[in-house]
Amino acid sequence: MATCDTPGVLAVFPHGGICADAVRAVKQAGRTKFHVYSPIADHRVVAAIGQKVSPLGLITLAGALTGFLSAIGLTSYAAASYKIVVMGKPFLSWIPWVVIDFEFTILFGCLSNFIGMLALSGLPRRRTTPGYDPRFSDDKYGIFVPCEGVEREQVMSLLREHGAAEVHEQ
């Protein structure tokens, strides 16, 4: 299923430790474009890849603020469009509205968090990323390096000497 038309080399590793070493080696070899597959977010692999923290937090925050403001807007506008007296309260009785504001904040925050997560990680997509192998959702780790022609050999050897259990050409 994971076969895809992007040419490249896929190495499968038995566990995260080795995979992490291989990742470092690949990076030293000056390669920036490659996929690392792992059944869990293995902190060793993550460390090896050394990415910056996801910007998702900002998106969520923005969403939450939007929710908060829109709630204030909605409640005030609703009250102002008919100045109806209930229980002798002033028609702009904002204290109880805090509840509404709060709920909207959470709601919009969560929605933007979810959508942001999908967007950033390129989901949803019809097929899995190049070089994906079902075993990666089970217990195997893997690195897929897109490359062609002469490069292939050296990449494969690189990966082999860093402990790849199998290496496939694609």
């Binding site: 996929h35 792992s38 990415q51």
Partner: protein, 456 residues
């Protein structure tokens, strides 16, 4: 392409814990298997129950809400009882998946998934009641703040409006939260479950690829979900409690309501989790994952919530008496001895006394006791809400006092709601990974995995 994995084969299950990643997949995905005859029979019964729910609803839709027991002093009946009860059930799920996640409580991993599922289904059940209890169901959408010609907007200071917003938010959030957690496991199911269902899981898993890009944002997303759901879960049942506390009905108008509703919600939620997990744990053969230690921790938690409730009940009464207000005092005296006494003492015994048995370690670690207390607490919590509802029978003006008894129609709706909830749980346990594969894998020490394949 790989014969190393036989997806549906169940490996021999160790007594405690799990050996390696592969066995986790086998064991958990192994439960997603072809349905049996008995399973269909049970499902049939549950769907029949849902049918009964629908017919009762049709009955009151066409003949009027009067087919239920509500009347002039007692304007709200068991439908509000069920609403509060089911929202309460929901809370355990979010608590386990969000709060315990933030507190890094390890025992959550085994139960988080099914608890979250329970939350979603419970809120789906709860959401039905505020709608169908309306006198004019067909215009329920007037609650929604939608723009319209006449510029008619809902009244945002009404507790019912809080409710509407809070419950819909809560449902959306817990659904998304649950689904986010499911994505990697759905991917695993996609990869390892044969046949047509694989295609379904492919669609559901949104093309998740286990690559570093996915994981990078996934981890953050899950964290923020937890961070947002935590205040939400506290707020939702507080809001529900304000349906009562913001009124001026003696016995309702009390500031203790929000905390004690939240505590009660978690209490009932945990009880329901126990009632659901104990059978699941047995039939799905996951005793090694949902271990006795996990159950024991839940039992301890229930002692805690049970005691909070005991305190709340006591303090509520104390404040009522302390106020020296005729109406408040009357309301609570009638709970101690009076028309509400039966409900009150049932509540107190089931919610506060029953969990105390868990101080006894043997009980904490015995499945029958856990199950029994779980059932008792659920009964108790239902009665607590019933007690609150019938407080309206005798409020300020003695001349207008009256009776209230649930009608057959209401009972039909109540039972039907349990079937509706059960139906979803039943489907979930058959078609979804009931335990979070990824979380369990993360629990496994690296040594365990690396031991099998020595370093090269």
């Amino acid at each position: 392409m790989n014969e190393t994995l036989a997806p549906t084969a169940i490996g021999d299950i160790p007594e405690e814990g799990v050996r390696d990643f592969a066995s986790v997949n086998r064991q958990i995905l192994g439960n997603i298997k072809v349905t049996t005859r008995q399973w269909w029979i049970v499902l049939g019964i549950l769907i029949a129950g849902v049918g009964m729910f629908l017919s009762c609803e049709m009955n009151q839709f066409f003949h009027g809400i009067g087919v239920d027991g509500m009347n002039n002093p007692t304007f709200w009946g068991t439908m509000l009882v069920n609403f509060v009860f089911w929202v309460g059930i929901g809370h355990a799920g979010t608590l386990i998946s969000a709060i315990l996640y933030l507190f890094r409580a390890k025992f959550r991993t085994a139960i988080a998934r099914s608890a979250e599922a329970m939350t979603v289904f419970a809120v789906m059940t709860a959401g039905l009641f505020p709608v169908i209890h309306l006198g004019r169901v067909w215009v329920f959408y007037w609650l929604a703040p939608y723009p319209n010609q006449r510029e008619l907007w809902p009244n945002f200071i009404s507790p019912l409006m809080f409710d509407f917003v809070a419950i819909s938010t809560y449902f959306t959030v817990s659904l998304l939260f649950w689904f986010t957690g499911l994505i990697p496991d759905l991917a695993a199911a996609r990869d390892h479950v044969p046949g047509w269902r694989s295609k379904v899981y492919r669609v559901l898993s949104l093309g998740w690829s286990n690559n570093q890009r996915n994981w990078r944002h996934y981890a953050r997303s899950y964290l923020f979900f937890a961070a947002l759901a935590t205040p939400l879960v506290i707020s939702v049942h507080s809001v529900v409690s304000w349906d009562f506390a913001l009124s001026i009905v003696p016995g309702w108008h009390s500031t203790i309501y929000p905390p004690y509703f939240v505590a009660g919600a978690i209490h009932s939620g945990f009880a329901m989790v126990l009632v659901l997990l104990l059978p699941m744990r047995h039939f799905q053969k996951v005793k090694n994952i949902i271990t006795m230690d996990v159950l024991e921790k839940m039992a301890k938690f229930m002692i805690f919530t049970g005691l909070i409730l005991a305190y709340s009940y006591g303090f509520e009464i104390f404040v009522g008496m302390f106020s020296q207000n005729t109406f408040e005092m009357a309301a609570f005296l009638k709970r101690l001895s009076g028309f509400a006494a039966v409900s009150f003492w049932t509540t107190a015994l089931c919610n506060c006394l029953a969990p105390v048995i868990f101080f006894w370690k043997r009980a904490r670690r015995s499945v029958p006791w856990l199950f029994l207390v779980g059932v008792l607490v659920n009964i108790g919590m239902w009665y607590e809400r019933y007690l609150i509802i019938i407080t309206q029978r005798q409020t300020y003006v003695p001349f207008s006092w009256g009776d209230y008894f649930p009608s057959a129609n209401e009972i039909g709706l109540t039972v039907g709601a349990f079937c509706w909830f059960g139906m979803w749980v039943w489907l979930f346990m058959r078609f979804m990974p009931t335990i979070s594969i990824v979380d369990i894998k993360e629990e496994i020490p690296h040594a365990a995995t690396e031991a099998q394949h020595g370093h090269v």
